[in-house]
Symmetry: C2
Subunit: 157 residues, 2 copies
């Protein structure tokens, strides 16, 4: 993929902070809105979710999820030209040491200060969505299938 396309992908991932999470619920897809924090190399995306939420219950049963990050609709004539990337991921509760958790907590609170209360609540935890592959629509008729290596290349830009 050319540098311009990779650059557009990197800007999209870095600009947006909410995404649509597709989980499996009773054999059918279910889509919910989540706040996310990308890993520096775009190899994984972190969520902070309550175990009481539907999507968390779903991820606990079926780890394969889809996380779609889309450019904000700016009212342009043709919304089909909006840039978006659908990541297919494996979701797991974060398994990290205290240092990693502390680093992630700091980064999360810098991005989502209103989320501080979730660190006082026992039902909230970080989940890590490891990227298996992705489908990037850079514009009308500009669809690219991406491997984690492509995402890593975008993250280096």
């Amino acid at each position: 993929m050319d540098a311009e396309t990779l650059g557009a992908l990197a800007r999209l991932v870095r600009k947006e902070r909410v995404a649509s999470l597709g989980t499996l619920r009773q054999g059918a897809p279910f889509v919910s809105l989540v706040a996310f924090l990308p890993q520096d190399d775009f190899g994984a995306f972190h969520l902070r979710v309550s175990r009481l939420a539907w999507h968390t219950q779903d991820m606990a049963r079926e780890a394969r999820v889809s996380l779609a990050i889309a450019e904000t609709d700016d009212g342009r004539t043709d919304p089909q030209t909006l840039m978006r990337v659908a990541l297919r991921c494996e979701a797991r509760p974060l398994e990290g040491g205290a240092a990693e958790l502390e680093r992630l907590k700091r980064a999360w609170l810098a991005r989502f200060p209103a989320s501080a209360v979730t660190f006082e609540l026992a039902d909230f935890a970080f989940w890590r969505l490891a990227v298996r592959d992705a489908r990037f629509v850079a514009g009308l008729g500009r669809t690219h299938n991406l491997a984690p290596a492509d995402l890593a290349a975008a993250a280096r830009l």
Copy 2:
């Protein structure tokens, strides 16, 4: 549900024009961006999609889909307060007479004028997503499970 909440739902559905569509792909959820047109009573949502697209192939295999409409991220401190509704639907290619198709085509083109080209292409068709139920997040801690009757009540406001 109170009139204020129903009114907020109606405004959300009428204001947005793109949604996240969750389909089932190889046993896992896949999320893509679609343009949509709600039926006047919010009982169904129409899409215009190509049979070459992944989501169309998915819907042809598994009719149960999820359509999530979210308020545009306006950069507020807490994105968890963004309003969103996740509709669970049954998707079918539109089966209507010529009059219904013509009416829908006019409404679609008024909303998405750049989509005119899709009426020249043989691979595009309307799909109708009939709503089974919905989950409406009106704000932080304000989640409502909705039946089609609730959506119809919102549509009357």
